[in-house]
């Protein structure tokens, strides 16, 4: 094992896969000479050259669409969006084209393409830079949505995403890039659609993904100090969702708190709560609860911003309520 930053883990995944398969290329704003807005593509231009690491004009619809056209004829593009906040410019390409071309063509065209970039709240970057978009993308049949929480998952999941033959929405928590974590030394991948128990426990299940895994783990630590053993489960892939592991955990703990950064209405947590409610109805000792981001565009002011993002004290309080301790 060795310790690397989240952004380095992503960089390794891209570099290793590009080394093995010359059909893979990386395209996006600032990915080449600038090493990426978040330095995920550091050194890749030098290593793979301008034909495989391509700086683009500022036009999301353009490089997303160009990537689709290249994927349709056999290449395997990795398209970096400087942030998922700006992906809406390319919504027609992502929703009407990437997600549907295989189905509409009767399976004649395959789209092995990864769309990746940062998402979720950032620090004091306000409404158009601090959005959680996973609920939107996970709504669309034809797309897979992947959201790693730590460097090990980031590398293993990105390698699987690059090898997958479907269009993948890969959302990297914007505030996770500098996080350090251990990763295996040799070659490894983590399959898409497989959740992971990040911390075993018996008294309550905390479900979170991306940055919210950190909040869930810190919440579990705080609860442990009070003698409560929380189990933290990370779906890792939002779509397809590994419902089985979530259900298995809740059947064991009989209580479930979903912590998500996105907006509450039609959020991913709402879907998970429905599935757990349906399958664990007889096992639950309390209704499934959700702690979500505030239902409004993100404010800039730091004090106000922090009020809008799920945090440990509120997660602890919500968990205790489910345990009838408050």
């Amino acid at each position: 094992m060795r310790t690397v930053a989240f952004r380095e883990a992503l960089n390794e995944a891209i570099a290793e896969e590009m080394e093995k398969d010359d059909r893979i290329f990386l395209m996006g704003e600032e990915v080449g000479h600038y090493d990426g807005a978040y330095k995920v593509s550091k050194g890749l231009l030098k290593r793979f050259g301008e034909k495989r690491v391509i700086d683009t004009p500022i036009a999301e619809g353009g490089f997303v669409g160009v990537g689709i056209g290249a994927a349709m004829v056999g290449l395997r593009p990795i398209i970096e969006l400087m942030t998922w906040n700006f992906s809406f410019v390319a919504a027609d390409q992502l929703i009407n084209n990437a997600a549907k071309i295989r189905q509409m063509s009767g399976g004649q065209f395959t789209l092995p393409i990864v769309f990746r970039g940062p998402g979720g709240s950032a620090h004091m970057l306000a409404a158009q830079h601090s959005q959680s978009t996973e609920a939107l993308w996970a709504h669309i049949p034809g797309l897979k949505v992947v959201m790693p929480a730590n460097p090990k998952d980031a590398k293993g999941l990105l390698k699987s995403a690059i090898r997958d033959n479907n269009p993948i929405v890969f959302i990297e928590g914007e505030v996770l890039y500098a996080d350090q974590g251990e990763i295996p030394d040799g070659e490894y991948t983590i399959p898409l659609g497989v959740a992971e128990v990040k911390r075993p426990g018996t008294d309550i299940t905390l479900i979170g993904w991306s940055k919210m895994v950190k909040i869930a783990l810190a919440t579990a630590d705080a609860l442990a100090a009070e003698g409560i053993e929380a189990e933290v489960v990370d779906p890792r892939t939002i779509r397809p969702l590994d419902e089985e592991l979530l259900v298995e955990s809740v059947k064991k703990t009989k209580r479930c708190l979903i912590i998500e950064e996105g907006w509450p209405f039609n959020g991913v947590g709402a879907e998970i709560a429905y599935r757990i409610g349906r399958r664990c109805f007889d096992d639950l000792d309390a209704p499934v609860e959700r702690l979500t981001g505030a239902d409004m565009p993100m404010p800039y002011n730091h004090h106000l911003e922090q009020q809008c993002i799920p945090d440990v004290p509120r997660a602890v309080a919500a968990a205790k309520k489910l345990l009838y301790l408050e």
Partner: protein
């Protein structure tokens, strides 16, 4: 600025510019004429089927046959065609079977896209004829991406995107043109200026006198061509393709033609345009002009013309009998296929659920009509 409209023959089929006249064999001339006539007759017959309620929707190419069939002829088979939706002749020219064409219109069990797409939204990968994407202009960057892939892999292939002049108003057209020129990819952006975007005349799309001149802003050549002159189409698309193959980048072509029919079977142009206008364009009919040219060259005699028409009618009749006798419904299980490259667990569960439902309640039968 002023751009000359490239022509080879005049409205009477007389050669104006022998230096541009493509050297075509008699067989090639016959094949071009036959494909144009096929599209013309096919459109008439299919529109009638639509009016009889035998299919849900149809789009014709009436008056625009030369634009896309000429372009298709100028390309190699390995080159990629990204159609808008009024270029079916390009697929037929490459050998798309009529029976399959009609199965797609009916969305039946032998429809290659498995009953998923609206009629006329064909997709023929083996002919490098890519699926139609309905949001206007949204396929243009795909052609640029395909051309980019060709450049990267040094295949010498070219990608051509057809689109109407209305599509030139979409953001994605501008973005795509910019990318194509910036990356110098072997793409051809072929704007079929047919005068009308549903009910909006081409003058309602832009303040520039031509669409071709927009090319200057992106840094690529812009070519204006008579889209009803199939020889001129072949000439300019050949030149654009050769430029692309030489690594000199993309070309924007504006082909001036005219949509003599309705936008689609759901549209009635008599509500918004002077009927004298399409009448006037009948005089410049692309098939008549080419017929006169071929007659003057001694290739199209009366017997050939009569025989071709007869043969086309027979083939359409046979294809129609074939398509209408195919089982009307693609297998239900195909619903769950091709959403993803593999069938994921949740769709397998849905498939099992549907099977159980059918076992209990039988299959839903849609009402007729």
């Amino acid at each position: 600025m002023k751009l000359e409209v490239t022509r080879v023959i005049d409205d009477e089929g007389r050669v104006l510019h022998p230096e541009r006249e493509p050297a075509l064999s008699s067989d090639e001339l016959r094949r071009l004429y036959r494909t144009m006539l096929l599209v013309r007759i096919l459109d008439e017959r299919m529109l009638r089927l639509r009016m009889q309620g035998r299919m849900g929707f149809y789009l014709t190419s009436l008056g625009e046959e030369a634009t896309h069939i000429g372009a298709a002829h100028a390309l190699r088979d390995a080159d990629w065609i990204y159609p808008a939706y009024r270029e079916i002749g390009a697929a037929l020219f490459r050998g798309y079977p009529l029976g399959t064409f009609m199965c797609q219109l009916f969305g039946n069990s032998e429809d290659p896209v498995k009953g998923r797409q609206m009629p006329v939204h064909h997709s023929v990968k083996r002919l490098n004829f890519v699926s139609v994407s309905s949001p206007v202009g949204s396929h243009i960057p795909h052609a640029v991406g395909t051309a980019w892939a060709a450049k990267l892999q040094k295949t010498q292939d070219v990608a051509l995107a057809f689109f109407g002049e209305g599509a030139s108003s979409t953001p994605i057209f501008h973005v795509s043109a910019n990318f194509a020129a910036l990356y110098k990819v072997p793409a051809i952006l072929l704007c079929r200026n047919n005068g009308w975007a549903i009910s909006v005349p081409s003058s309602g799309q832009t303040a520039t006198p031509t669409f071709a001149q927009k090319a200057i802003a992106y840094g690529m050549p812009g070519v204006l061509v008579d889209g009803n002159d199939i020889l001129a189409m072949i000439h300019v698309v050949r030149e654009a393709a050769a430029r692309g193959r030489r690594g000199e980048g993309p070309t924007l072509i504006e082909a001036r033609t005219y949509r003599r029919g309705a936008h689609s079977s759901s549209d009635d142009p008599s509500k918004y345009r002077d009927p004298a206008e399409p009448k006037e364009w009948e005089r410049r009919d692309p098939i008549d002009r080419f017929l006169k040219y071929g007659q003057a060259r001694g290739v199209f005699d009366a017997e050939f013309v009569a025989h071709t028409r007869q043969e086309i009618n027979r083939e359409i009749g046979e294809a129609l009998i074939y398509a209408e006798s195919r089982p009307p419904k693609p297998p239900l299980h195909s619903l769950f296929e091709d959403v993803y490259a593999e069938i994921p667990r949740h769709l397998r569960e849905q498939a099992a659920g549907l099977e159980a439902e059918i076992a209990r309640h039988g299959e839903k039968v849609p009402p007729r009509g």
